[in-house]
Amino acid sequence: MIWLRRYGTLAGLAAIVLFFSVMLPETFLTLRNLGNIGQQVSMLAVVAFAMTVVMVMGDFDLSVGAMASLSGVVAAVLFVHGWPVPLALAAALAVGVIGGILNGVLVAVVGILPFVATLGTLTMFGGAASLVSDGRTIFGRDIPEAFSGFAKGTVPGLGLPALTAVALAVLALVWVLLEQTTWGRRLYAIGGNAEAARLAGVRVIRLRIQAFALTGLGAAAAGLMYAARVASANPTQGNGLMLDAIAAVFLGMTMNEEGAPRVLATLVGVLILAVLDNGLTQMSVDSYVREILVGAIILAAVGMAGLGGLARR
């Protein structure tokens, strides 16, 4: 039972991969398709890794999808105004940090439950994205080649898609921060018992704001990646990322005995969602059926982990 609890999710990923390689022998396990998955998944991965940071503290950020949309349109509108690419990207990322700080202040200083606070900012960011873009999609000649070209590029010598490389870099960064620094240790302590952590000298308010800022930055980065990949930006294109990111973190949490989020486990969660999406699409499964299947698989995984906990009692 403990084995199932620890490795069930990983075994599930292996089973899904096996299933699709048998069902789609020609196309699934090809370098081309794997590269494809790597690229498709990179935006979700970045958001999920960033989401892991706040979920370590037992918090949530529902506004990541709206923030991804907002940062995309902010960059695109600045392109339209003739800003150089690096400056526009920096501004869009700064919007992410500011939005994240706003979330952190609402949660840590004002004391609004993360669910409610980020639900509010989700709506605000969504509105801001429509306002900034006038509700239109920005595409075509307004998007500079230097920006959209990046998403099509690969890492020289490795053949690794550039977007995948960015996701891996974010993974490495978040892993070092959460697992290797005292900062990460304190974040986990807050998740373990915030009041006890505060009384033991952890600066809970400051850390929570920093963590939310980081999540906002990750969401903004993912939004830019998305906009580069589709060479356009509209005020709702990132919205779908939020639920999948939370689902990925939850899937990952099933691999941990204490149920604490770990960023490498989040990666497994992300891969499960990505492989399912890719495989089912190739098998021409209706997209609505796909949603039902994905939801059921998430519930099955989390439910099984819960049963494991029950058996241990």
């Binding site: 018992n193 006890a196 000298g201």
Partner: protein, 518 residues
């Protein structure tokens, strides 16, 4: 304490009300209880003692029908009865008051008393509030409790009143007669006054012929209340004896398997350098406190519950705001946050272990090193896991922590060992000032001795300690001087040497005549 020493009254019953025998329980090979027997006689308070992990909790869970025993024989007034489910326990007439009181804070006192049973109704569906409240008031009146309005939300009441609500609820359960009450550490969160009220209620129940199984670590209470004592050690019956057949030393020997550790004689040592000085200190809850704290000194803080002890400790931790006066520390100004306090060598063991102390899901190591991460870290804030484990291992050894692995979650340790982890956390930085808010609450005799030894070692090394305790004997044994608070005001600052519990209590209650005798 108001409990009388009366034993079973009326005609002596021929057989015990409830007789357990041959009780054994193993958890996956680990023996929790081994051939234990326990008799509960009507009209008797039966104390159950033992160190944490001795099997008391398992015994209670078996009695409650929550944990089925491997082997057990139960006789109710001589008749064999089953006991393998909560329904069986209820049918036998057993009632339980747990350490963690199960009350619903948003519901009224009356609703809490009627929880789980149909309330009196009007027209078949509407709750008959006046009758509900009247019934609740009647149930409370049986305990001589009249100050509680049945319509107030239960969450607004203090711990003592909640205990009364719980007991009233147990008595009001009408399905089966309540014959025996199991009270698990009922005074752990109560003040002296609340405890005294509870003892009066227990006495009343006893006179009505109920059997009471009283689980407690507190020697004074056991000596004052019980007609019979059973001691468990390592899952076995270590001793069972009627009143007169046990004494303090005998109980401790039975619990620990070793003779009472003689407390090192306290001598009035020459005070060290002044570490902190309060002058005319006042906050929202404290008034006009003036004292000095020296290196190498334990300053006890005594008073009734909420007389300001915790607030005073928290002031040193950087919480609360000064309204008047000053609090100067040798190391500089008063810290402005717990983080700053820890950084300046001020360590804290909180009163509420679960709420303010442990991170139950995190490892022993993570719990121990949390305030010291910065000191242990490498240059750019990189954690050094091996140094963390070394620190945790060193302190676990020094405090004689009972654990399997340092990476096991703290929540899986017994209460006393969780408390030791909090001590390890506080001790790890060799603090100059140790703030201890009732540090041995719910902790068994052995763990208590280890914690006391750690406190004395810190003081001997030149640290200062600010200590509160609901256990007066502990306060007297550890303190050099005792600061007495009443409603936030300083009413005395006396040397502990030569003071006894009665004398200290007299000072706390403000009976100056008796204090003179101390």
């Amino acid at each position: 304490m108001t409990a009388t020493t009366a034993g079973p009254t009326g005609s002596a019953p021929a057989s015990p009300l409830i007789a357990l025998s041959g009780l054994s329980k193993t958890y996956g090979g680990a023996v929790a209880l081994d051939d234990v027997g326990l008799d509960l006689w009507p009209g008797e308070v039966h104390a159950l003692m033992g160190e944490n992990g001795a099997g008391k909790s398992t015994l209670i869970r078996v009695l409650a029908g929550v944990t089925p025993a491997d082997r057990i024989r139960v006789r109710l007034q001589g008749r064999a009865v089953p006991l393998s489910s909560p329904a069986d326990a209820a049918a036998i007439g057993l009632r339980f008051v747990h350490q963690e009181l199960n009350i619903v804070p948003h519901l009224s006192v009356a609703e809490n008393i009627h929880l789980g049973r149909p309330a009196p109704r009007r027209l078949g569906f509407a709750v008959d509030w006046p009758r509900l409240n009247a019934q609740a008031a009647a149930a409370l009146a049986r305990f001589g409790v009249s100050g509680i309005d049945p319509a107030t939300p239960a969450g607004r009441l203090g711990m003592g009143d909640r205990m009364m609500i719980r007991l009233a609820a147990l008595l009001a359960e009408a399905d089966t007669p309540a014959r025996a009450f199991v009270l698990d550490e009922p005074t752990a969160a109560l003040t002296h006054a609340e405890s005294a009220r509870l003892f009066a209620v227990i006495d009343g129940l006893r006179r009505d012929g109920a059997a009471i199984l009283y689980v407690s670590h507190r020697m004074d209470e056991v000596m004052a209340l019980s007609d019979r004592v059973t001691v468990l050690r390592d899952g076995r019956l270590a001793m069972t004896a009627p009143r007169g057949g046990f004494d303090r030393a005998g109980l401790i020997a039975a619990m620990t398997g070793r003779a009472e550790m003689a407390a090192p004689a306290r001598t009035a040592a020459a005070p060290g350098a002044v570490l902190a000085q309060a002058e005319g200190l006042a906050t929202d809850t404290l008034r006009d406190l003036s004292f000095t704290l020296h290196a190498g000194e334990v300053l006890g803080v005594a008073g009734l519950e909420n007389a300001g002890q915790s607030a005073l400790l928290r002031l040193f931790l950087g919480e609360g705001r000064l309204r008047a006066g000053s609090l100067r520390l040798a190391s500089g100004a008063r810290p402005r946050s717990p983080a700053q306090a820890w950084a300046r060598g001020i360590a804290f063991v909180p009163r509420e272990r679960r709420r303010e102390g442990v991170m139950p899901g995190r490892s022993i190591t993570a719990n121990t090193v949390l305030p010291h991460l910065a000191a242990l870290a490498g240059p750019p804030g990189l954690a050094r896991p091996r140094a963390e484990v070394r620190m945790a291992a060193r302190l676990a050894g020094a405090l004689r922590l009972k654990f399997r692995r340092l990476d096991q979650p703290v929540g899986s340790l017994s209460g006393g060992n969780q408390q030791k982890v909090l001590f390890a956390r506080a001790m790890a930085g060799d603090p100059r000032l140790l703030l201890l808010d009732d540090p041995t609450r719910g902790v068994d005799v052995g763990a208590r001795a280890d914690i006391h030894a750690a406190i004395r070692a810190r003081v001997a090394a030149g640290g200062a300690v600010l200590l509160t305790s609901t256990d007066l004997a502990e306060l007297l044994a550890l303190s050099d001087r005792i600061l007495i608070l009443r409603d936030g005001s300083q009413v005395g600052l006396v040397p502990a040497l030569g003071l006894d519990a009665a004398g200290l209590l007299a000072l706390i209650y403000g009976m100056a005549g008796r204090a003179g005798a101390a």
